[in-house]
């Protein structure tokens, strides 16, 4: 028996000028999700069920970039992806290119449990969703006014970059030298939500979900649905990453935490610190992780990561900045 632990995130790469009320809203949502997970853990729900449950909540709430509230593609639509992994046995499921599925993480779970495959995408995934009878809606359900505005700003920022006659000022009128994934931080929609859990039996699980990069090209897949990059769970740990997808993929970030624990014998926090410091090169990202011995940890090398963590011994923390 092990003390349970849980961590959630709402994306890394946060505008340092984010209005206080937005920060408060974010912290409240993270707290609510943590409490949902904690309640489930107290009623002995296995880790894999808890991560799905919590990520569903994050998808349903429009605040973060996943499910409803996803960042928009260059065409003004929403295209979502998600993955989930169960530590014991390392079973996994992933989906990309979803446009009508209310809860992508649950479809990823069904890919894992009810299909002969690990990863389904685009119309094949939508067809599977129909067969499975999951909740489906029109694409505009996922679109929020906030994100419509953000897309406009992103397109302007794009044209600003290329048109030297326009002074380098973002739509918000504030000079913003920090960039994340090619966008000024004031416009960037931190990508992805995630949850990692270790239950009383020492079973780890991880799940990640996202609308992806704001103004992305249709068909662009990021790190979130890629096992080993954005999501990973094994006997030793559960990991969910967020940030610049390219850096996370090249660094196989989520797997890396498990690999240094397994092959170098590092403890969880050491592993997280090592990976963030040594495996990101110039990339900006963050991650949350739990270990099979009940530890919880997080790390990020960019400006802010929406996160929360808690463990059975009463520890609880919600934060955004360093």
């Amino acid at each position: 028996m092990v003390g349970w632990a849980i961590a959630v995130h709402g994306g890394a790469g946060v505008d340092p000028n984010l209005p206080t009320e937005r920060q408060e809203q974010a912290k409240q949502l993270l707290t609510r999700c943590l409490n949902l997970g904690i309640e489930a853990l107290r009623s002995s729900l296995p880790a894999i069920d808890v991560v799905e449950l919590v990520v569903r909540e994050l998808e349903t709430d429009p605040l973060f970039n996943s499910g409803r509230g996803s960042a928009l593609t260059e065409n003004g639509t929403v295209e979502m992806e998600a993955s989930i992994m169960d530590g014991p046995g390392r079973r996994c499921g992933a989906v990309s290119g979803l446009t009508t599925v209310k809860n992508p993480v649950s479809l990823a779970r069904l890919v894992m449990d009810k299909s002969p495959h690990s990863y389904l995408a685009f119309s094949g995934a939508e067809k599977f969703a129909k067969q499975m009878g999951v909740d489906r809606v029109e694409n505009d359900y996922f679109i929020t006014q906030d994100n419509v505005e953000m897309l406009k700003l992103a397109k302007e920022a794009d044209s600003i970059v290329f048109d030297y006659r326009i002074p380098k000022v973002c739509g918000t009128g504030v000079q913003s030298p920090i960039h994340m994934n090619g966008l000024p931080i004031s416009i960037y929609a931190p990508e992805t939500v995630g949850c990692v859990v270790v239950d009383n039996q020492g079973r780890c699980a991880a799940a990640t979900s996202t609308g992806g990069l704001l103004n992305k090209r249709m068909g662009r897949i990021g790190d979130s649905p890629l096992i080993g990059a954005g999501t990973y769970a094994c006997d030793l740990c559960g990991v969910s990453c967020t940030g610049e997808g390219e850096a996370i993929i090249r660094g196989t970030l989520a797997r890396e935490v498990g690999a240094v624990m397994e092959y170098k014998g590092l403890r969880l926090q050491e592993a997280v610190d090592f990976v963030i410091k040594e495996r990101l090169d110039e990339g900006k990202a963050g991650l949350i992780a739990v270990s099979n011995t009940g530890e919880v940890a997080y790390g990020f090398n960019c400006v802010g990561m929406f996160r929360g963590c808690a463990s059975e011994n009463g520890f609880m923390e919600v934060g955004i900045w360093d």
């Binding site: 002969p116 685009f122 119309s123 249709m218 096992i227 080993g228 990973y232 797997r255 690999a259």
Partner: protein, 319 residues
């Protein structure tokens, strides 16, 4: 140190009594394509160019499960995926759901070099291909009679299992037994290192016979089917779902780095101790010019060469 190259045309349950008419064309293709890679390395082409070139040839050959000759989805269509990675920079490119592009590996390379992204799929990948002016053809170009037959057999096998009301398939029993087993687990790939230790890996596939439309395997997933860094380059083949779970390509490199194992030991460890029997094969080269080609299936179509004149084409365990 001289250059080294290894390529594969798929690992699987390749019966040792494979009839000559099925074996010889593939051996001949492997030999011919190996020579193309060798010539390119002798001409001092970069490993990245070499692996792309070799995989293009494998895609163009109808004898392997990539490009032309790709296995069919359950709808009788072709959905191809590919991935390429440069060891020094760890830059990479991947594509999935490609249906009309003659060389998916070249499309993956364009994603790596011409976009800020790593991975494009389905309609997005196809429209990008057109923007880049890559060669596209009618979908029927990729379909071969052998694959139409394979799909038919796979569907029949499925039907038989359902008639016998088999219990829910476990993780290891998810694919039906294919009487023509040699192509069920396919993929092509190439890894290369030049005399300066620069590494690159490339993998391409049509996927699994009778796969669900939209199914993505290990090939385009960095760290699963394809990986390269400054230590080694790896291209894996076999049952995609197992290779993804075991992050095969990344783990070969990780074991070298974190446990100090040499290439052959690391590759053998991953294939023989970690992945389930019958699921995985890989080709790998290291920055010091070593080659490893372990597989835990009956066979793996493969070929390798080093600058000092060594050359090998094989299917089953070397004697």
């Amino acid at each position: 140190m001289g250059w080294a190259i290894a390529l594969h045309g798929g690992a699987g349950d390749i019966p040792v009594n494979l009839p000559a008419e099925r074996r010889e064309p593939r051996e001949a293709a492997l030999r011919r394509i190996l020579q193309i890679g060798v010539s390119a390395l002798n001409a001092r082409c970069s490993p990245l160019d070499v692996v792309e070139l070799v995989v293009c040839e494998l895609e163009n050959s109808p004898h392997f499960n990539a490009g032309k000759g790709s296995v069919l989805t359950t709808n009788g269509t072709v959905e191809m995926e590919a991935c390429i990675m440069d060891g020094n920079s760890k830059r990479c490119g991947a594509v999935s759901g490609v249906t009309t592009v003659v060389n998916p590996i070249s499309l993956a390379r364009q994603v790596m070099e011409k976009t800020p992204h790593i991975y494009l799929a389905f309609d997005g990948a196809e429209s990008f291909a057109r923007e880049q002016g890559l060669k596209t053809v009618d979908r029927s170009h990729f379909i071969t009679p052998e694959n139409i037959e394979r799909l038919k057999q796979a569907k029949e096998a499925n039907r038989v299992q359902q008639d016998y009301t088999q219990p829910i398939k476990t993780q290891d029993q998810k694919e039906p037994m294919d009487p023509d087993g040699d192509s069920k687990l396919g993929t092509v790939g190439c890894v290369a290192v030049d005399s300066l230790g620069n590494l690159a890996a490339a993998t391409s596939t049509g996927g699994l016979v009778n796969k669900m439309a939209g199914r993505i395997g290990d090939t385009p997933i960095i760290g699963a089917g394809t990986y390269a860094n400054k230590l080694c380059a790896v291209s894996a083949t076999g049952r995609g779902e197992a290779i993804i779970r075991d992050t095969v390509a990344r783990d070969v490199a990780a074991v070298m780095e974190y446990k100090g194992l040499g290439l052959k030991e690391a590759a053998a460890y991953i294939v023989h101790e970690v992945t389930p029997k019958g699921t995985t094969g890989l080709v790998a080269v290291s920055a010091t010019g070593e080659i490893a080609m372990p597989f835990n299936t009956t066979g793996m179509f493969r070929a390798s060469a080093t600058e000092d004149g060594f050359m090998e084409v094989a299917i089953w365990e070397s004697e």
